[in-house]
Amino acid sequence: MSNHHPVADTQHNKTFTAYVIGFVLSIILTVAAFFLVQKQQLTTVNLYISVAVLALVQLVVQVICFFGLHKGSERGWNLLTFVFTILIVLVVVSGSLWIMYNLNYNMDH
C-alpha cells in the first residue's frame, strides 16, 4: 500500500493547485472586466470586444481548472458532447438574433 500514497498525494496536490489557479485567474479576469467598464476609457466597440474576450477566457480557464478534474474514463465523450453542445448553442443564439433582426428591419421598412 505504501507506494500508493505518494501517487495519491501528487494527484491531490495537482487538484488543489488547479482549483487555486482557476480561482485566482477568475478573480483577475472578473475584476479586469469590471474596471474596463467602470472606467469607460475604450471606445464602445472595443469595450464590447474586451469584455466578451475576458468572459470567453474565463470560460476556458474554468472548464480546464474546475471541470477538467472530474473527467475519468469518459473524457473523450465529455469533450465531444461539450463541443457539440457549443455548436448547438451558437446556432440557436446567432440564428435567433439574425432572424429577429431581419424581422424588425423588414417591419420598419
Partner: protein
C-alpha cells in the same frame, strides 16, 4: 482509514466504472441545461431594447452589487473544490465543513439577488412591465432557482455524509454536485458579462 482504502481498492474497478457512467450521464444533463440557458440568453438579447417606455438595463444595474455577487460565487467555486479534495482524503469532517461553508456562501448570493429582485418589483419594475423585464426576470430567475436547487442538494449531501461518511458512492454524488455548482457559476459569468457589463457600456 486504511481499511477504507483497502476496501476501495478491492472494488476499485467496478465502482470507478459505474461512478464515471453516472457522472457522464449527469454531464449530458448539464449540456441540455446549457441549451436551455442559451435560448434564454437569445430571448434576452432579442428583447433587451423593448422597454415599452420603462426602465432599461442601464438604469437598473448596480455594478458594485453585481461584482459582489460574482465574487461570492467565485469563492464558492473554491470552497466546493475543497469539499471535493476532503472527500479524496476520506475526511468526513472536512467534506461537511466545506459543504457548510459553500452552503452559506450560496445562501448569501441568493439573499443579495432576492434583495435586487424585490427592489425592482417594489417600484413597479416587475416582469409584466415590459418585454425587456420579462426576459430579464426569466433569465435571472432560472439561474436563481438553479442556485437554490444547488443549496437544497448541498444540505442533502451534508446529511448523507454525516450519516454515511465518505465512500466511492458519496464521491460520485459530490462530483455531480461539484459539476452542477461550477456549471451554474459559469452561467453567472455570462449573465455578469452579457446582461450587466454590456448593459451599461
Amino acid at each position: 482509514m486504511m481499511t477504507e482504502v483497502l476496501a476501495n481498492q478491492d472494488h476499485h474497478e467496478h465502482h470507478d466504472d459505474s461512478g464515471s457512467r453516472v457522472v457522464f450521464g449527469f454531464w449530458i444533463y448539464l449540456m441540455s441545461d446549457l441549451i436551455l440557458f442559451a435560448t434564454l440568453f437569445a430571448a434576452y438579447a432579442v428583447l433587451r431594447n423593448n422597454t415599452y417606455g420603462g426602465v432599461g438595463i442601464a438604469q437598473i444595474t448596480d455594478l458594485p452589487r453585481v461584482l459582489t455577487e460574482t465574487l461570492v460565487l467565485l469563492i464558492s467555486n473554491l470552497t466546493i473544490g475543497f469539499a471535493f479534495l476532503s472527500q479524496q482524503r476520506a475526511s468526513k469532517q472536512g467534506v461537511i465543513l466545506w459543504l457548510l461553508v459553500t452552503f452559506l456562501i450560496g445562501l448569501a448570493f441568493v439573499g443579495i439577488e432576492y434583495q435586487g429582485f424585490s427592489q425592482l418589483v417594489a417600484v413597479g419594475n416587475d416582469w409584466q412591465r415590459s418585454a425587456f423585464l420579462s426576459a430579464f426576470f426569466t433569465l435571472l430567475g432560472v439561474h436563481w432557482f438553479h442556485v437554490i436547487a444547488g443549496l437544497l442538494w448541498t444540505i442533502i449531501l451534508i446529511i448523507q455524509f454525516a450519516s454515511q461518511g465518505t465512500s466511492s458512492k458519496m464521491a460520485t454524488r459530490l462530483t455531480c454536485l461539484g459539476l452542477f455548482w461550477h456549471f451554474v457559476n459559469i452561467i453567472w459569468i455570462f449573465i455578469f458579462t452579457i446582461v450587466y457589463l454590456m448593459g451599461v457600456i
